[in-house]
Symmetry: none
Subunit: 209 residues, 4 copies
DNA sequence: CATGAATGAGGGTTCATTCAT
DNA sequence: CATGAATGAACCCTCATTCAT
């Protein structure tokens, strides 16, 4: 249905996409107003529904579109040449932050999408989301150097501990930044702190030399 | 304003509370319909607004009410006699799971509340929430046995790692359960798995003997 | 119906009367809220409707009650001993102003009542109002001294001119006061100005001597 | 916002305008029901708010629109060629009556508007109203023949007396007509009576010859 | 392709009035 | 006498969606 959309004047495409992004990120799915979107995009009411059968389709298209945008940049810039799992996870964190600084509105939208309460849309969302997860996580652990771990280490669970720790730290920093009303966190400081945690985990799970 | 409510026929109170709980948990603050609530509760439109000045007051009352309910049971059943931090966190997890199994609808509501996007309600929520956090977290780390940790351990950060790990594990199990459409997770199995993680962390951060 | 009301504890009567007066004066008939009235009066919802069958009856009772209050004071204090029509009209103006200063809330209510747009109440109001007019106007022109007018004067129409002039002047001053947000007009100055008009009219319609 | 309205099918415009006019005139701003208006106009609820952002905007648009309509006819038909103040005031009265007979509903609305109690609308109304007053009153006294007045006449106050008299007379006739449930007063008779008052005033304030 | 007029159900909230206690 | 819980229609306004042009 929304296939017509891609063959539209790209500048107008952009306007519609950005207007929708902003409105949905700000108000969530149900409370976002298509009236507001067309006003922001400078198009007529009818045109929006010419390209998208309904609000839901627009929302889902938006979601998939910006997941694609993000994924494309993500895999372009991701450096997984090293085989050290910590190196890879650190790179992942850095990249994530770089992307967030580059596209704050898209991240706002993604965040709001991941917390979306509307039944009408939640289910359809999850499908795409998990698909994304699988694609990305597959490569993260490909060919990592297992010899660095102490002998007898429960690799799978250890990796979980590492990831949960880094995730927990990441969320903590984000919370802090939100509380201080900063758009992006103080990257250098947070990075140094992350290194401390990484060293602690290395000392715990890597062979000592 | 909503003080009239507490002196109402308890059975009707219950009906109103449960109807609101369900509707808000399902649809979030903004999209929940007071029409739906009164229909579910079997009362007239006017009566709801006789007890609560407006939707927001109802929501906030609900939140505070169920936080109280939860907290009361929580502190009644919490066992913090032991001084081992792992023991306490394990107890905490178990208790949390027990409460979730006992009041699944309340937890649904609390989850939806904690992700509430509506500006109108977010702020008022945070106040109560952080207050709750402080009260509960204060006791969690009171008088724990620090001598068990290896010498030179960075206690603060180590505790963070432990908590993030258990949190991460907990969320993982919940996700699994949701995916399988089970209301409550297989408690015994999850518990055994948690013990494995706890042992790993103990081996890493406690003195070996 | 509202006859029960008069045999009620006078202090409570007062509270109900004053609360109603204030609310109706402020918001007009339709927009006045019986909820607000009972809150202000400190009585229960049911009691109000125990004494007054409905809102309309309360309003009409209020109107008639305060018309009576006003009329009683009015006729008590009115000085119609002199036979000069100008003297009487001047006295009337002065008295009117004195009453307004004494009972501003009642006058607010009366003003709002006279501009009442609600169909439900307009008609019933007019009946009482004209009745009031007739009673009061009868005495105003009783036994005035006609010999002071020039010979051949059309007395009836001359009196109309005098009254319309004084009325017009009165309204003008009231408007001025309202525009300056003063509660009561500067009485002395207005009075002096009124005298000027009266002298002009005297010169026009009274015999010169 | 209401600019869309003017480019609408004129016949439907008319229906909306007339329905609103009638409802507002009858019930006043606050008590007028937009439900009633759309029913009367034969349009859907949504359409009204497609054209007017809210009730207030509709009301104000209506007011300004019909002030314009009236003013246009008024200035088209007004004859101020003569320099005699009585002539002008008489012309004014006649014109006012002609317009009232032509557009009784508009006058009903204007009357109700001028007595509008609603705070929400009163202020915005006064702005336009006083503007209208200034425009119209400026021309009324432009270049009138002052030589006709007796020497030593207090012109300003005399004009006030004349105006208040004619106003008072006008209102009296209107009241009479309303009481007899006549839509328009018996014009010829009222006119003759007005001439009597004018002659009386002329005899009082003009030079005798 | 593109417009925006048109719909009508639904949103939260207020209200005068009733009636069991 | 007095209470206040309970009703449900009415209030203004918003909305996604349709369709004639």
């Amino acid at each position: 249905m929304s296939s017509k959309f891609v063959s539209l004047n790209p500048e107008k495409q952009e306007r519609i996409l950005n207007a929708s992004l902003k409105e949905f990120a700000l108000k969530g799915y149900e409370n976002a107003s298509t009236n507001e979107i067309v006003k922001l995009a400078g198009i007529s009411k009818g045109l929006l529904f010419h390209y998208f059968a309904n609000k839901k389709e627009l929302y889902l298209f938006l979601y998939n579109h910006f997941v694609d945008v993000l994924m494309k940049e993500f895999f372009n810039e991701l450096d997984f040449t090293g085989r050290d799992i910590f190196e890879r996870l650190k790179n992942l964190m850095i990249l994530k932050n770089r992307l967030m600084a580059r596209h704050p509105e898209i991240f706002n939208f993604m965040m709001s999408a991941s917390m979306e309460a509307s039944e009408e849309v939640k289910e359809a969302l999850n499908d795409s989301k998990t698909e994304l997860m699988h694609t990305s996580y597959g490569r993260l652990f490909e060919n990592i150097d297992l010899t660095k771990f102490r002998e007898g280490t429960d690799i799978q669970r250890t990796i979980n501990i590492i990831m949960w720790t880094l995730e927990g730290f990441s969320n903590q920093e984000l919370e802090k930044a939100k509380k201080l009303n900063k758009d992006s966190l103080d990257f250098d400081e947070a990075f140094k702190e992350a290194e401390v945690y990484i060293d602690m985990l290395k000392k715990s799970f890597y062979k000592s030399h």
